[in-house]
Symmetry: C2
Subunit: 160 residues, 2 copies
């Protein structure tokens, strides 16, 4: 395989930017995600790829839940800050003073996002250096009006 062609074609895939949140055993995590998509209409399901070294991964596994929070077009800087690893950034909720919505399922959602969809994990699948969750949307709320943040428009790149 031509690695440069592989990289170019995989970078032709269009992504948005999202905060993904989870909490378990008194710990809370949040990271910037782009590798996700809806997977089913009925029931509504999402698929989400999470890097194996993500500090939020054990929180998703432990709680069986995550919240998908689409970021707004003006939140490029927030997307960058949420993308820093917890090992360096510490508790990002505290460090960034992030207002939270406590959802019915106990998963925190970002109050500044456009909205949130709480997803309950149904299946976890190995996928190379990552793990893919297939999860049913069990709770959702619209938090504000606005346009979603696109990855290309934000000038970010995480594909290839």
């Amino acid at each position: 395989m031509d690695p440069q062609a592989k990289k170019t074609v995989l970078r032709q895939v269009t992504y948005g930017l999202y905060a993904v949140t989870a909490a378990y055993g008194g710990e809370r995590g949040v990271f910037t995600a782009n590798w996700l998509s809806q997977a089913s209409f009925d029931p509504p399901m999402m698929m989400l790829s999470v890097e194996r070294e993500s500090s939020t991964l054990p929180l998703i596994r432990g709680s069986g839940c995550f919240a998908l929070c689409p970021l707004a077009s003006h939140q490029r800087e927030l997307a960058g800050a949420l993308g820093r690893p917890k090992a360096r950034a510490g508790d990002k909720y505290a460090a960034l003073n992030l207002p939270i919505v406590e959802t019915a399922s106990g998963c925190p959602a970002l109050a500044d996002a456009l909205g949130y969809a709480v997803c309950r994990v149904e299946t976890e699948v190995e996928a190379g250096d990552s793990v893919v969750f297939l999860a049913e949307v069990i709770e959702a709320a619209v938090l504000q009006a606005g346009e979603p943040l696109g990855m290309r428009e934000a000038g970010f790149r995480h594909a290839g």
Copy 2:
């Protein structure tokens, strides 16, 4: 769950538009896809959701392969035409006179797309009304320069 909020939030997810192709046992299929994402860097893997009633589904299952072909920003009309079910549209390759690249793996790719990535299925997972494939990218080529077709810009909607 508030079904309107669920719909609104799931429509805040950003998608591109792609042709997905497969061939098996003398049959060839192609459809317009948007529910897909990269799933791993190493090895490079994609995740793709396919509706259970898709006529291309048995071709992906039979051959264990599909090609992801990102459409270009000027191919909105092609995206619409490729989205018609085969039961009504017939062989879309013939009906739309689609030029093909024969890839090394035997999967046809659209010569008019920006490029293609041939993906070999590793895992198939149930996901509600659809099936999710986790597949390794084994072959890729850039076919032309151009910007990818975004779903929002195209005015299409297939989420919620």
